[in-house]
């Protein structure tokens, strides 16, 4: 079986029972992705598949053959942290750090969803074009990632800052600041 993981083609023959999470951690020693609950309830195992966030603990590795997988180890580019990673350091987005890899991958996946105008349960007008980002949207969209330490305020600040940076760079400087302030409030 074959997968593209963090830009590299990787091969392994594994039992059909192997989850994508165990494949990453045990076959490829990519232990950044964490096992919290192993039942879809915590988000610690979040990885990106073709850019979309999923829970690797509920995914059978065999079902994801041929797909492009990004883990926390693959978020930085050429030694430069992803803006969301940098923002986690700046805003104290963790205490013990166990949930962090999942939070980071999830936040990066969420930014893609925002860019595609994907709605959430708290989006007021589903039919409107363009979604108004605010703190409630952010929290709702990140609700699949629990933090046992309760570092949520730092996490939300970090993601808001990272988000403003990512979306802002594309939207221009003015909006960047406006968005940053709006979200940070």
């Amino acid at each position: 079986m074959q997968w593209t993981i963090n830009g590299q083609v990787r091969e392994a023959e594994v039992d059909f029972r192997t989850s994508l999470l165990d494949l990453l951690r045990e076959q490829f020693q990519l232990s950044g992705t964490k096992k919290g609950c192993n039942q879809g309830a915590c988000g610690a195992c979040t990885v990106l598949v073709d850019g979309e966030r999923i829970n690797a603990c509920l995914a059978l590795a065999v079902q994801y053959q041929g797909r492009t997988i990004t883990t926390v180890e693959g978020l930085a580019e050429n030694g430069t942290l992803h803006p969301v990673q940098a923002a986690f350091i700046e805003h104290d987005g963790f205490q013990c750090g166990y949930c962090t890899p999942g939070q980071l991958c999830s936040a990066v996946g969420m930014i893609g969803e925002l860019e595609r105008d994907h709605p959430s349960a708290v989006t007021a007008d589903l039919a409107a074009n363009g979604i108004e980002w605010n703190r409630d949207e952010l929290r709702e969209r990140m609700s699949g990632n629990l933090c046992r330490c309760g570092a949520y305020n730092g996490i939300a600040d970090a993601i808001a800052a990272g988000l403003a940076k990512e979306l802002g760079e594309e939207l221009g400087e003015e909006l960047d600041e406006e968005l940053g302030e709006e979200i940070a409030r």
Binding site: G40, L60, S106, G144
Partner: protein, 333 residues
Amino acid sequence: MNAFDYQQVADSEQAIEQAVRSRRAKYLGGGTNLVDLMRETVERPQALIDVTRLSRDIDETAEGGLIIGAAVTNSALAGDARVRSRYPVLARAILSGASAQIRNMATVGGNLLQRTRCAYFYDVAARCNKREPGAGCDALEGFHRYHAILGTSPSCIATHPSDMAVALAALDARIHLRGPEGERQLAITELHREPGERPDLETELQPEELIVAVELPPLPMAARSNYRKVRDRASYAFALVSVASMVELDGETIQDVRLALGGVGTKPWRALRVEAALRGQPATEATIAAAVDAELTEARPLPGNAFKVELARRTLIAELSRRIADARNGGEA
């Protein structure tokens, strides 16, 4: 987890062929429920037939509705512009379920056929008639805060956990099936069964039968529909009570109404008694309250979930009142 065979198929014909040929096969969607249950050995299939390559299309029907392929992900369905504007109840129901990660994995077929979250069903050391017919039911005298008050039996009080299915019940969706004997359709309300004496028999599906698509009929009033979910925390939790609703007014008369409930029924619960009591009646607080009571007098609560009767009553009244106010303000859909 027990060992199993894995096969990916390109279309429904291949899927059925493989299922007929394999022993104790199960179809695999996103795996978010099945893999979990296999890990607990509640499910022990000998073969998995991966049906995520089945249709992922959402198309217009000749009648002006939509037909949704069984492998469409929950996220893709909720994000579809046509669903968001014409059937917001469906988009909202899906978005209120699980987490973004799970919705990205979960399929329409798998969501409909996900199994109950009853903790005793999950725990192979507990007694459960659904898992092991005749074993007894530990929920009756156990923790049943999340269990049903409508459609229950002395054998089982488990709720059907799907939010999406509740919206589909209100929308009169049709389920397109394909099996070794050919194709057929079921109304969504006919897909799931009440437990009766056989809680292990959960749906009307025949062996090897596959969900291939879900069809939404055209329904103008659905443009003003909503899904409200009441739960123990604001997000990422199953429903205590949920309500899918839409109303059509003719002046001050309720011309048409669709209502379905989640979190309280042993299957996605279409509130037909409320609907019947409201159709053709004046849109007043008194008619609404009486109509809601017509359904809830059927409730058979237990000590741990008796609060749901009042919670369902209040949520239904609040939602109906909102839909009526919206219909007054909005005029045509």
